[in-house]
Symmetry: C2
Subunit: 159 residues, 2 copies
């Protein structure tokens, strides 16, 4: 490692570098960065909107429409899960986020005839995680259960 990198000992930067799920998530977000705004940003900074403290959550109203940025963040999260499952299994995965105007809905990841990840969303306006570690753990948990599911129902996944 070069000295410039070690000179930035910010908490969480190591976890982003070493975690395949967080790397996949960073890629998803950078792919949406059509104007190159994030080009000079560190991975950690790119992921920072995913970290929402409990206090911050309480201050976000659940009345009315989900913010488009939050909506895109949710989509990126599940797309990152899909990419990780794809890399492991070689099956192309699709993602759908279906949110009502009240912030309730579904997040689905599927391949072939199989639903790999199936989550109900609620209070999507407040979408976020306590820390980068929590974000990584949640993502990995979904990837793992998705892979288990692909193994269990391999015929439906290939259909």
């Amino acid at each position: 490692m070069s000295s410039t990198q070690t000179a930035v000992p910010k908490s969480g930067s190591n976890i982003v570098e070493s975690n395949p799920f967080l790397q996949a998530l960073v890629q998803q977000i950078r792919a949406q960065d059509h104007y190159g705004v994030y080009r000079s940003w560190s991975d950690e900074l790119v992921l920072s909107p995913f970290i929402v403290s409990k206090e911050k959550k309480r201050s976000i109203s659940v009345e009315g429409e989900v913010d488009p940025a939050t909506r895109l963040r949710i989509l990126c999260f599940y797309r990152a899960v899909a990419t990780c499952v794809e890399t492991e299994t070689g099956h192309l995965c699709q993602v759908v986020i279906d949110l009502s105007h009240e912030g309730f809905g579904w997040a689905l990841v599927w391949t072939g005839r199989l639903i790999v990840v199936n989550r109900t969303l609620r209070d999507a306006q407040r979408y976020g995680f306590d820390s980068l570690e929590k974000l990584a753990t949640q993502g990995e948990k979904l990837v793992k259960s998705g892979l288990d599911c692909c193994r269990r129902f391999s015929d439906a996944a290939k259909a």
Copy 2:
């Protein structure tokens, strides 16, 4: 049959009465009728917005957002498919319609881990069928393929 009923020999009225899919569809639409507007309408009249001729389709622009009424119509169609599959299999089915602002997207019906119906939508602004017969045939085709799928992957459907 009573004489009043035979006195209305409008084309299509018989097919609506005798077709389980069209009956399920009528139920879905009437369930959305919160103000009782359709209460005095015949089933055929309730289904009439689903019939869009080729000429009419050409006159509908595919630029811009899908009309909320069209969106609801698509949802009702797939919910009717879901209900028919539910009645046959006893598995509760969920429906998601995911449409982009350009009228492209997915229609999904699933139960457990299994995707029962999986359709891509395009030019959703022009959603409609040539005739009641076509509407019934299309619906029944989806129900049939969904039931086949449930039998084939019964373990994923129950998961």
